[in-house]
């Protein structure tokens, strides 16, 4: 499965916010959005990744972008995870049907039955501007890649 490439319109999808509200393709329109797909809440590797991104949240927002974490965990687990990390990056749940959005984006890791580790930047028109799929779910994309992607999108 390959990640959605730059220039590809984002397909229709439905994720759930921490409040249980739908988050769909329509919610991407009008904003530059960084979607951070990660495998599992509370896995030690993801812990570092979101805390690193939190450190540069101000710089991401200063570039006019929003950032969300996406995993197949239920919203309750994601919220507990986020709070345990002292992180404010909002989470979107791909819990039911499991991984449907990740699969549509090419960001699902079939062997593990989980979200793969990927970054997707979507422009305000709902088109992928930049994407990155890690070589393996254990490879953490540095924050530098987000800024490379935002620069490529500009």
């Amino acid at each position: 499965m390959s990640i959605l490439a730059a220039g590809t319109p984002v397909p229709e999808f439905t994720l759930k916010t921490e409040d249980g509200e739908d988050f769909t393709r329509a919610d991407l329109l009008g904003h530059t959005t960084v979607l951070v797909f990660y495998p599992f809440a509370f896995s030690p590797v993801c812990t570092d990744q979101l805390q690193v991104y939190e450190e540069v949240l101000g710089e991401i927002e200063a570039q006019g972008a929003r950032i969300f974490g996406v995993s197949t965990d239920a919203g309750y687990a994601q919220k507990a995870f986020r709070e345990s990390l002292n992180v404010t990056i909002p989470q979107l749940s791909d819990f039911e049907p499991k991984g449907a959005t990740a699969k549509a984006f090419g960001a699902y890791f079939e062997p593990g039955g989980m979200t793969n580790r990927a970054l997707v930047i979507v422009d305000p028109e709902g088109v992928v501007q930049w994407s990155h799929l890690a070589g393996s779910p254990g490879d953490l994309p540095g924050a530098n890649l987000i800024f490379d992607g935002l620069a490529a999108s500009a």
């Binding site: 450190e55 710089e59 990390l85 992180v87 800024f147 490379d148």
Partner: protein, 168 residues
């Protein structure tokens, strides 16, 4: 706004905290004084035939004391005591509150009032923030991360890695 796009770790420069045998291979240690894995890395590096340059990767979300400790170490550096303070922090990881820092400073013969002023200064904050920004740009995502010859080695270093680095 700082540029956070990809860039390699900067070469050794004036102002870096570096120690170890002259001529030994150089390793950058990106660490956090509140991080237990960094304390382990510190213990494993002790005595290794390497030159070690310490740079900060202290994240606000990671540990509530991470930044405060990094700032205190830089304030100690202004009294030529970075390494003694560094070693004292890793030697007693259970004692990282402010009174513990003052006690360390007194024990090391530092001017505690000056340390208190310096660790809250903009210059010290910027010194630490610069290291963190550069680590971000190099793609560092974990503490500790050793960097040698441009390669990143996250996590406490295994003996085999240290031997390989020493032989490089």
């Amino acid at each position: 706004m700082p540029d956070l796009r990809s860039a390699a770790v900067p070469d050794l420069r004036a102002g870096d905290h570096v120690r170890g045998p002259a001529g030994a291979p150089l390793v950058f240690f990106y660490g956090d004084f509140a991080c237990p894995h960094c304390a382990l890395a510190h213990a494993r590096l002790a005595g290794a035939p390497l030159r070690v340059a310490f740079r900060h990767f202290a994240l606000r979300a990671k540990h509530p004391r991470a930044l405060a400790l990094a700032h205190a170490a830089e304030a100690a550096a202004l009294q030529e005591a970075f390494w003694p303070f560094h070693d004292a922090l890793y030697a007693d990881h259970g004692s990282l509150a402010d009174p513990h820092l003052w006690e360390r400073a007194r024990r090391l013969g530092l001017d505690v009032e000056r340390l208190e002023a310096d660790r809250r200064s903009a210059a010290v904050a910027e010194r630490v923030a610069r290291d963190v920004r550069e680590a971000m740009r190099a793609g560092i995502v974990a503490t500790p991360t050793l960097v040698a010859g441009g390669a990143l080695h996250p996590g406490p270093p295994a003996r085999a890695l240290l031997e390989a680095l020493a032989a490089s």
